[in-house]
Symmetry: C2
Subunit: 338 residues, 2 copies
């Protein structure tokens, strides 16, 4: 077996897997935001017709998976494998979605980096010949996240200026060995980086270091740089984290300036939607990738992006025990055209 | 890229990755059990010298990782990639272990199936040429699990006859493209199966169906059967789940009789250690594999085993909302000799 490893953290995909289909499901607030026209399904009901918010999250993922099969023109049972994970304790958003569907499933936990992590693993599976028609999927839900990570919504707690708004949404992408669509040409696996940030309402700051580490590693390992990309896309750093990332890059002599976009800064309109530092959650980068970006890559409006999923690896328990918040970031290089 | 896929759920590894080293860390109760002599490190302190049980779990994983590097004769920074996950909310056992070590990390969530899931993913990574020196690792801790899933230990709640005792322990295995040691020749990815069991104190029953599904899928996909294995090893079905699995097999005309062993039935001595239905937790199959089984495979006392990690995909939230408990099981075929 020839080694596809490049440098310390990356691997190349000479027979680049193809993203042949993608689907996105968005909640009410997301459907009122600037990317509304890029989502496949939108729902105005926070419960998505279910009894609880956790069940709503399952329902959302199931809708994304069904829409993906529909757009790919195949049956659910034609999927070879699903890589998925979410923010809920024990990833019940994902496991209950896959219950009794008969689809092989490998569960992930990468916090909000999960869309990139699942795409990276799907690329490994397809690129290594271990499966075809492999799904990368994730979700998050504002209400299920708030009550699990912070406070019951009924408390009406005030949000700090650096806090971000968890996106209600689910995205799914189908990775195949052949076909038409954007291609995954290389991936970079993140390391866990802790910058000592202890404020669970400032996750952008906690993730910025991990984001820069991974972007720099991708450049070094793949012998490339910002000039080779149309966009460098981070998952959910938000306004605070995005500025910190640019500063870290500047100090290191790298200009990300015109290339850097953050899904957390794009999914809501902060002048009218009042989300403070931006959007967050697994669903944030998932619906922005599986709506806006893959759309633009497939029509050739974008030629090459580095999609960098960012995750804050905290739990309420670790925060209560005084721990700081480690971050992680995985990067996937996607090229456009057919 | 040649396809390694076999049947619906399995893949073969023609250039079989090698498990060149393994390490296990066990807690006090485990070190008093019948497998005590197979563990590398044993600790009589539930806190492993830390302030909290969650930190103890991190410490345990870090010890396992360090011991693994030591036994492999390499540095921590020589590891290419770590696949790991655990039972703690947001998998903090794993992410805090990897914090600032500079090792690429992909987080998994497979409940108690994580040792098998991480080995399966490591096999994909090594078998596909995406990395060498890839670690598969997991942990669980009785005290951190009890308070998260059930009640604070201080309540002194009574345990039901079908309940299992979460193992305090961590196991790590190093998967490489070459070298000496047991080899991974094929893997089967599980599907999420829900048999309708709602009792969170009877997880063996909840997982038995998934275990049988995966074992049967492995036999079908790889055109093999119980007669080709020295042992078929399940992770933590315990006494109740093991009997259910044998019954499911019998009804299907398959005899697992003399071949089936369950780590949950092996790690404690139920006549003297009073653990009710047996051991459980990610650490259960991890320390049994990374102590007893890999030892016997490396010396040739066992020639071929099917290692089947079993996971119950519940959360306290899903249980409180009246949901039943889905199970999953991933299988890894390991052959002995050098």
């Amino acid at each position: 077996m020839a080694s596809h490893k490049r440098g310390r953290q990356s691997f190349a995909l000479p027979e680049s897997p193809v993203i042949t289909a993608w689907a996105s499901v968005a909640g009410k607030k997301e459907a009122e935001g600037p990317l509304a026209h890029t989502f496949d399904l939108k729902c105005r009901d926070t419960y998505f017709g279910q009894d609880t918010w956790e069940q709503a999250e399952n329902h959302m993922q199931k809708q994304a998976l069904k829409k993906l099969a529909e757009k790919a023109g195949i049956l659910l049972t034609d999927f070879d494998l699903v890589f998925s994970g979410d923010l809920l304790n024990q990833c019940i958003g994902s496991s209950f979605t896959l219950r009794n569907l008969g689809i092989p499933h490998l569960g992930l936990y990468g916090a909000c980096s999960t869309m990139a992590e699942s795409l990276l693993m799907a690329s490994m599976a397809v690129g290594g010949g271990f499966g075809d028609k492999v799904v990368a999927m994730t979700s998050s839900h504002f209400a299920s996240s708030e009550r699990q990570y912070r406070f019951p919504l009924g408390y009406g707690g005030q949000r700090t200026p650096t806090s971000q708004w968890t996106v209600t949404g689910s995205g799914a992408a189908l990775v195949c060995s052949g076909g038409k669509g954007p291609r995954i040409t290389a991936c970079t696996i993140g390391t866990v980086r802790d910058m000592g940030v202890k404020d669970a309402n400032n996750m952008g700051a906690a993730m910025a270091g991990a984001a820069y580490d991974t972007i720099r590693a991708h450049f070094e390992d793949m012998k490339t740089g910002p000039e080779d990309f149309d966009r460098i896309v981070t998952g959910d750093l938000g306004q605070v984290g995005k500025e910190l990332l640019m500063e870290l890059a500047r100090k290191d002599g790298v200009s990300l300036g015109g290339k850097l976009e953050d899904c957390g800064c794009m999914v809501f309109d902060n002048t009218t939607q009042d989300v403070h530092a931006g959007g967050s959650g697994c669903g944030c980068s998932a619906i922005t990738l599986c709506g806006h970006y893959l759309g633009k890559l497939s029509t050739g409006k974008l030629k090459k992006i580095l999609f960098c999923g960012t995750g804050a690896l905290l739990s309420p328990t670790s925060t209560q025990q005084g721990e700081s918040i480690p971050g992680v970031c995985h990067a996937v290089c996607i090229t456009g055209g057919n």
